[in-house]
């Protein structure tokens, strides 16, 4: 009996969950489950969006708050990781520019290509870091809004 009910609820969740998700009408716990699923895949944008939708339920306030804190924490860990990569790339670019001025390096194509790659990656890393910073401040502001 219980297994049957569980299967039925799971089926209903699958059928109704996604179409109703954007309405914000589903129970907080549904959203929290989805937020944690997004967090598992480091999809912070989706996690923030879903958490915003679940705002307002009194019963699960403490759980909601815990999940909010978890996303902020993950943002910080990821930002730290990006920061390390940015420092490394900046050092590499500096080294390449310094050695690129040497005469025997002028005719070699490889360092220029490598430099371009580093600069491209650096821009992406900075973009990711800014995005995470934006999400973090958004999460902090949820409480006051």
């Amino acid at each position: 009996m219980m297994i049957g009910l569980g299967t039925l609820f799971r089926m209903l969740k699958k059928l109704l969950g996604k179409p109703l998700e954007n309405t914000g009408a589903l129970p907080t716990r549904y959203y929290l489950h989805e937020v944690l699923k997004s967090l598992d895949h480091d999809n912070i944008g989706e996690a923030v969006k879903l958490l915003r939708m679940s705002k307002g339920a009194l019963i699960d306030k403490s759980r909601w708050e815990m999940v909010r804190q978890q996303i902020i924490f993950r943002c910080r860990v990821l930002r730290e990781r990006h920061c390390k990569r940015i420092n490394f790339l900046e050092e590499e670019i500096k080294e390449h520019k310094k050695h690129g001025k040497l005469p025997w390096r002028w005719f070699r194509k490889e360092p220029v290509e490598k430099l371009m790659q580093y600069e491209k990656t650096l821009a992406l890393e900075r973009q990711a870091q800014d995005l995470l910073e934006k999400y973090e401040s958004e999460l902090k502001d949820i409480l006051s809004s």
Binding site: P27, R29, L32, L36, L39, I59, M66, V67, F73, E80
Partner: protein, 107 residues
């Protein structure tokens, strides 16, 4: 047995009365009946396991902290402190997990 007749106006009146009652209760007591009912349905959706899911996520977050193999307990604690400055509940959970880990290791 006589078959029951369904009345559309009756259903509409019923829905309106229900909506009126919901608004009246919300206005008088501040309680949101529909939201409460949805929460109960939510529990029925097999979502009662949320606490376990939050716990699993906490463990995963702790594991994903880029801890080096040579990092000692104090250094990890300092890092947790830095990253959870304004997140007291999460910090507490992390500390509890760490303590449990240390106890399990020494046992």
């Amino acid at each position: 047995m006589e078959g029951k007749k369904l009345s559309l106006p009756g259903a509409l009146v019923g829905a309106l009365v229900g909506l009126g009652a919901e608004i009246a209760i919300r206005e008088m007591t501040g309680l949101d009946v529909i939201e409460g009912l949805l929460e109960i349905i939510g529990a029925g959706f097999g979502l009662i396991r949320i606490d376990k899911r939050i716990y699993e996520s906490t463990v995963k977050l702790l594991k994903g902290m880029d801890i080096q193999p040579d990092d000692d307990y104090q250094r990890i604690l300092r890092r947790i402190d830095e990253l959870t400055v304004d997140l007291p509940e999460l910090r507490e959970n992390f500390l509890r997990l760490m303590e449990a880990g240390v106890r399990a290791k020494s046992a």
